[in-house]
């Protein structure tokens, strides 16, 4: 394989367990060549096929067997294909992130390789685990009693494109922002799920000609219905209205726990885009539950996507012509989805390192995009996002166009700083931060830590403009007795032991341009009390107080060891609703 720049690998494009009239959507993805071993194993991912339920270690496989080779039905029962499929999708997703961010992306753990276990156990769950440096995919039995199903068979979560991309996104986001796993607010608790769903949905559109083939299949079949197979160069305009696009299999995250288990009604797939904004209220305590809140974020973004796509199709004549060229319809969707995918991925670099809110994320999306794509006139994506997010109660912070404000002081003191070292050496970056701590409004007595430095090169999608940036995250910690919180302008939440040691965390993302000037300071840093009413510091104090109250209410304030969110639990809760509502945690001892 050496000498080949790109490898064309066959993968599954949709969950094969979702019955689309017997049609299994496959696609080819391009992976950058690397020297691989049997596993497959490459420099970032290692597939180890161990099944804990049966204590079986399956032999490794070569990725080569899936290169330049079409999908065959027999692959669904071949564990070697499962291993290759999951390797390729993880690498493809990693590649999307690195292309959007303009740099390499680290995992959240020290090892270089993410372990992927395609048949980890006979349990209906799949999850990323920072602790085990892995993504574990479960399997379970299909419902044998469903009419039409001749015999019981297994459902493998590792074969679902959406599940694999969703879990990989958790791993990548954790590498970019480890602080997002800590409890902070309902928004932060929900963000991982919402973001992972968004990437999974939009990633389907990056899989070659799959979109064109699946466009016709805009709803799950009714019992006994036989639909016309996807074919022909034309598609009915009525099939691609905004309403029908929302019902497309393309806009549903395959719910591996419901849809394949028989008896699932059409629409049992997780279809956040259909959540009505009029009834989705982020202030409703029912929506404090992470998965419910996550779906609101997804609904907002995907409705913006559908609106932009529909508008483009109107330009093709969707309102006046009975049929449209299938390929053109698909191309529009693919291009818009690619833009949007890049926008949401790039936005992560423009979020604070900790204490994220949906508002922060939206602001980050708008800011990151305007930096590389100043002209939004072609698709109006930023405008659509602002509108639809606003409908769902997500508004950007108050800055020009909904973007982060430029800092007042852009010229940092660079004396004694080696600019070359600054782009990769945390000690050098800390020197810069220390020398500018007053202008950066940092708490000089807090424990301060440069958690990452990431030089990146982003390319504007429309004009090829190249943007060089250095993104660094700086975290601060203060441990303080609850009784002493008033010294920071805060109060101990009701019922908290005055002797409890409370850990306050804050952080800033600093984005420097190619000359070392400060472009943005995106901060949820520790407050500095004593400021006058109505100032930004007072706002910070109020937000920190809200976080403290939330942590106390949810029982995390005195249980720091339970702090890191477990994706496994989140996924299990998502489809069972077993668990305590966030406010009910106040009832627990």
């Amino acid at each position: 394989m050496a000498g080949k720049k790109l490898l064309e690998v066959t993968v599954l494009a949709q969950d094969p367990h979702v019955d689309i009239d017997g049609y299994t959507a496959s696609a080819k993805v391009d992976l950058t060549w690397e020297s691989m071993g049997r596993g497959p194993v490459g420099h970032r991912v290692h597939v180890i096929d161990y099944d804990a339920t049966t204590s079986t270690l399956y032999g490794p496989t070569d990725l080569e067997a899936s290169i330049d080779r079409p999908f065959a039905a027999a692959d669904l029962a071949d564990p070697a294909f499962h291993a290759r499929n999951v390797f390729a999708l993880v690498m493809h997703t990693l590649g999307r992130f690195e292309a959007a961010l303009g740099r390499r992306v680290d995992w959240a753990f020290r090892a270089q390789q993410l372990k992927v276990v395609p048949h980890a156990f006979g349990v209906a769950n799949a999850f990323y685990s920072r602790e085990t440096e892995s993504i574990l995919f479960g399997y379970f039995s299909r419902d044998a009693s469903t009419p039409g199903k001749a015999k019981a068979s297994r459902v493998f979560t590792c074969l679902s494109h959406d599940v694999v991309v969703h879990e990989t996104t958790h791993a990548l986001l954790d590498g970019l922002r480890p602080g997002f796993m800590a409890p902070s607010s309902p928004d932060q608790a929900a963000f991982h799920e919402g973001f992972a769903d968004l990437v999974a949905l939009l990633s389907t559109f990056t899989l070659g000609d799959v979109v064109g083939r699946l466009l016709d299949l805009n709803r799950a079949p009714l019992p006994g219905e036989v639909r016309r197979p996807p074919s022909g160069p034309l598609i009915r305009s009525s099939d691609v209205t905004a309403a029908n696009l929302k019902n497309s299999v393309l806009l549903a995250v395959a719910d591996r726990f419901v849809a394949p288990l028989g008896g699932a009604a059409p629409g049992a797939l997780r279809r956040s885009v259909l959540i009505d904004w009029r009834s989705a209220n982020l202030d409703d305590p029912e929506n404090d539950e992470p998965h419910a809140r996550a779906e609101i974020l997804v609904a907002a973004v995907m409705n913006a996507f559908v609106e932009v796509w529909s508008t483009r199709l109107e330009g093709l004549g969707s309102r006046t012509l009975e049929e449209l060229p299938r390929e053109r319809v698909a191309e529009e969707g693919v291009e818009i989805a690619r833009q949007l995918l890049n926008m949401v991925i790039r936005a992560i670099d423009y979020t604070p390192p900790i204490h994220l809110t949906f508002s922060d994320f939206l602001t980050a999306v708008l800011t990151a995009d305007i930096e590389v794509r100043p002209d939004d006139s072609r698709y109006g994506l930023r405008a659509a996002l602002k509108t639809w997010c606003g409908r769902y109660g997500i508004r950007p912070v108050r800055g020009a166009g909904g973007c982060w404000s430029k800092p007042k002081q852009t010229e940092l003191v660079l004396d004694g700083t080696n600019f070359t070292e600054l782009r990769h050496d945390p000690a050098e970056m800390f020197r810069l931060i220390w020398n500018n701590r007053d202008d950066l409004n940092l708490n000089a007595s807090a424990y301060t830590h440069v958690s990452s430095i990431r030089p990146c090169v982003r390319v504007g999608p429309e004009d090829g403009q190249i943007v060089h940036e250095t993104v660094t995250e700086c975290l601060q910690y203060v441990s303080i007795r609850a009784a002493d919180l008033p010294s920071m302008g805060l109060r101990a939440p009701r019922g908290v032991d005055p002797e409890l040691i409370v850990a306050l965390q804050g952080g800033s993302t600093l984005i420097l341009d190619e000359y070392g000037r400060l472009k943005y300071e995106i901060s949820n840093r520790l407050p500095r009390p004593g400021a006058a009413e109505g100032t930004k510091e007072q706002v910070r104090v109020a937000r920190m107080q809200q976080r403290l109250d939330y942590l106390a209410r949810t029982g995390y304030l005195d249980r720091p060891h339970a702090a890191t969110m477990r994706i496994a639990d989140l996924h299990r809760r998502r489809w069972t609703a077993v668990g305590i509502r966030p406010d009910d945690r106040q009832e627990a001892w």
Binding site: G39, V41, H46, I48, Y50, D51, A52, T53, T54, S55, T56, L57, Y58, G59, P60, A77, D78, P79, A80, Q113, K115, V117, H119, A120, F121, G122, V123, A124, N125, S129, E131, T132, S134, L136, Y139, F140, S141, R142, S145, R154, F257, V258, L261, G263, G555, R559, H561, A568, D569, R572, W575, T576, A577, V578, I580, D584, Q586, E587, A588, W589
Partner: protein, 451 residues
Amino acid sequence: MATRPIAARVRAYNVGFGDCLLLTFRYGSSHDRNVLFDFGSTKMPLQGGPPSMLAVAEQIAKDCKGKIDVLVVSHRHADHVSGFAGKPGEVIATLNPSLVLQPWTEDPELATTADEPAALARAAVPDEHAGKKGFAAELDVMHDIAEQVLRAAATAPQNHGMKPVLEQLAFLGETNIKNHDAVVALQEMGEDHQYASFGTELGLDRLLPGVRVDVLGPPTVKQAPEIRSYATNDENYWSKALRGLSTSALAATSATPSRGKPKPIFPDASMTTVADGPQEARWLIPQVERMQAEEMLALVRDLDKVMNNTSLILTFQVEKDILLFPGDAQLENWSYALRDAPGAAAISARLATTRLYKVGHHGSLNATPKVLLWERFTRKRANPKQAGRLISVMSTAPDKHGHVDDSTEVPRRTLLAELDHSSNLVDTETLGLGDGDEPGTFWRDTAWITF
């Protein structure tokens, strides 16, 4: 006989991790009426305990002078019903309870035939009876899951890192398997049976004159869908979860019921040994095994909670004094009575004056709602000598359920501290710790409450 009791007392038998309490109402100098709550254990006490459950049964027979008026079986968990099977159960049966009171989920009328659960699940708009049957069927599935979990715990690698998880799995599995013999024994004993839900009128005036008995839980599925905890998303969650434990596991264990792992799911695929596999596999494999065990533990914890939420919550009121017995009810069960039911505010106000509280679920973190219930008790007092102080009764044993590392230990230390601080706590845990108990005594009594 007097028309109302003049006093009442609770005797808590030390059955280790389990419940067995005798509530005695005294009518005049020598006339008592007795209510027995539960009779089960999943771990007998290491100290201060009876030699056996049979010994407990014989003591109960002595204490109630050969007659139980009301037998309350709060819910079906082993630590509440195991004693009704076998010889101990035979002794209880000779006490011929006038009434056996259980939650509605235990009504034998709700038993389903093999194909009914699926049909119930497919019903477009199930009526209340169908809804009850469906839920009862799911409870049976939960027992199957518990059996699976027990088998899995027995065959899992017993390495050091797995030990705490496997112990929990085994404990919860054992607690949640079906106690068939106990179920049958309960159905056959006693003069009358009632199966109650929130608001059921029990009509116990004849059996307990002058005592108002109210049923505050469990709600039916129609009253409170969240009692199932999963109803918002999936009608058949537990059936699917059972399938989620892999048919290969079922097939293998039915062939080799007590030993061996399930067969590989790809029997024709190339396999290798850990020794011949990649180095990383040696580190990863124990992690995956532990994750599997934790997944099963999470599943069985959820299942355990649903079962606990089928508990009867009963109040016995004489004049203004309320004696509160909630079994192992968790927040979802409590929520209906205290937040969502018609008249919830009035119920909440009544419970504020509770005189005696049987601590829910052995003192766990989720069974004594802090704000909805505990903080509203008006008889909490810091001064132990103060008249009318709240009495709390707890039957528990440490180191069996939950873990201090994730603040889920039972009994929960924060709750225990509060009970000790604000009430006259009667705790079976402390029996045998050398604080003045008579030798051979394996029970603790509350003080007599005079009315």
